[in-house]
Subunit: 370 residues, 2 copies
């Protein structure tokens, strides 16, 4: 299969752009003496994992035990499961930890008690701190709970404290000032915790995770490690908030054009919510945007001077409001590209990739749909 023989929706991955994103983040990490521990929930791919290794990545982040099992094939120095640990998977954790260095995330005493009674292989743990938007984590000032977790865990000699983790996911919906504010808040919280617990745990690490702060900010004092995920592909959301340019987006969903309404300047493609997911942006004119059109050329795609967007989406249908430029340049039976609003979700929906060189690239979901 070559890239140009696409007939059905498939996610096209440009290795060159992806490597450029990796290179840039790796250089930034190096410059600021940060350990880059990228989050693999975005790509979920062994192949992209190999590319990461080319840029010096030795430890990785995932969001589920299942994902950790998948990547343990590659023998990473450490795999961190960055999700409040699900205590129902304690036996599976013990098993995985026999052959793979693993760390987990704790946010309460209950799970810590279960693990302290059951863990029989070395497991590191981070205490997750609430980034300030209430999704998950221990409140930064709740030293009582932090120390309770430390105390319970210390009863099990296989459990060792690695440090504090913050994922400031609310930065994805912020503007530049908001991102700056969030980053300073994250930094201050991690620095305070490090100062407070450093004497007791001289090796404790602080880690923050979000792509916007890691892409935009330049002061990482107080932070030892970064674990961004989305940056590997970026997407329209990241371009909108200034984490990247649209030219940095490394994936485009290839979709066939099945109908054109010349009068309304609308284009129907086979590409809907089951392919792109349903994340949306609002354009400056108030219209909805479920993805932006690019045209494939040679072994890449081209942004359009006058952008066209998917304006509405259902399970399998996408309707593009086409610019004059686009409507002049396409016909039924063409395959065009859609830059995703949220690349992590699109990749998870699609479950595999084709590179711009025509190579099929794996994804944990392991299906080549749809």
């Amino acid at each position: 299969m070559t890239f140009l023989s696409i007939k059905q929706p498939i996610l096209v991955l440009n290795e060159t752009i992806c490597r450029k994103n990796l290179s840039k983040m790796a250089e930034k990490a190096k410059k600021h003496q940060l350990n880059l521990v990228p989050h693999f929930k975005t790509h979920q791919s062994l192949k992209v994992g190999e590319w990461c290794r080319d840029f010096g990545v030795k430890e990785i982040t995932v969001s589920s035990l299942k994902m950790a099992q998948y990547f343990s094939q590659q023998a990473w120095d450490n795999i961190h499961i960055a999700f409040p640990f699900n205590p129902l998977l304690t036996a599976e954790l013990n098993q995985l930890a026999q052959s793979q260095s693993i760390s987990i995330q704790l946010v309460n005493e209950e799970v810590c008690l279960i693990l302290a009674a059951a863990i029989d292989h070395p497991i590191g743990y981070f205490i997750e701190i609430d980034a300030g938007y209430g999704r998950t984590g221990v409140e930064v000032s709740d030293f009582g709970l932090i120390e309770k977790i430390m105390r319970v865990a210390s009863k099990n000699k296989n459990m060792f404290f690695k440090g504090f983790y913050i994922h400031a996911g609310h930065s994805y919906h912020a503007d530049l000032d908001g991102i700056k504010h969030i980053h300073e808040q994250t930094r201050a919280a991690l620095k305070m915790l490090k100062d407070k617990y450093h004497s007791e745990f001289p090796h404790l690490l602080t880690r923050s995770g979000d792509t916007p702060c890691c892409s935009i900010m330049d002061n990482f004092e107080g932070i030892d490690e970064i674990g961004p995920g989305n940056f590997v592909f970026y997407d329209l959301t990241q371009a909108k908030i200034g984490s990247c340019l649209k030219e940095d987006i490394a994936v485009a969903l290839a979709v066939p054009v099945v109908d054109i309404h010349w009068d309304k300047k609308e284009v129907l493609v086979h590409g809907g919510g089951v392919h792109l997911a349903k994340d949306e942006l609002i354009n400056a004119d108030g219209s909805k945007n479920y993805g932006e059109v690019v045209l494939f050329k040679d072994r890449h795609w081209q942004l359009q001077g006058h952008p066209s967007y998917i304006k509405s989406i259902s399970q399998e249908h996408g309707i593009i409001k086409a610019s004059d430029q686009l409507i002049r340049n396409i016909k039924i039976g063409d395959v065009i590209g859609i830059l995703p609003v949220h690349s992590c979700m699109t990749a998870d929906c699609m479950g595999s990739y084709i590179s711009t060189e025509g190579e099929i690239i794996d994804h944990l979901e392991g299906h080549s749909k749809k």
Copy 2:
């Protein structure tokens, strides 16, 4: 694996409820002398296909050629691909039509020309008529285009006209009055087209598709066939608009509870956008609803007197705003159920099911995640 040993997100399917939904729709179709040609894009499952057969279903609807290929294993009398045909798949269509009776959907002359030059096995086609919300289809009054398609197709003796198809997908966002209005519009359009073309095509069929109209309405004069999909599982959206009761919803996403904030009455579950999809409803109080909590008991689940909802969702996280009743009754490590807002999308995200009897049930996506 039994139903009660669930440890990770999985979609639980209650066969009893599902069969009740099938039975009710099959009886309604019989009462109104309608041919029930259910849309399999909702369940995408061979096993659920078998259940459909128990209620007299002989012909089915799908949304892609790939889905048609999957269900052709079951030798249906006909498989209709209810999506404007993608002309890039003409060779695959010819191949499939060698062993399986297939019909497709046409909305323009361009694709018809390509097919007329290439089809070498019998293929039926419906002309899709725009239901009035501009997603797809020929405008109902555009007899010029309708007849152009008929004329072009008639050049190929393997292409035969089956009739007119309308999918009134906008009924999913309507209230009861809206649904009535949409149904009457659909009925009037199909009746007019049937009257107009009946003498030339005495066997032409009219088909409409949406679950709300098929569930609620009682006058199908002018309609020969119905192709609803969602009714097999239903969901919170359908319950909200009155197509079903919440008791009729046949699937619930099982999710582990990983953290509880007693003070805020919030519950964190491993169940996010990659499991449920991100469809949302707005509750009466203006809050967002990404799914409603049910509690598993014996081999089923129970609705809660004071409902609790997922109030926010990210890739893997779901945060439940818990009622007092719920917060008193759950603990970390429990597995609870979430009734989905849009069951078609949730099933597609999950890619397989477990029945309440503990049996794994197939889905076209074929992965048991996550």
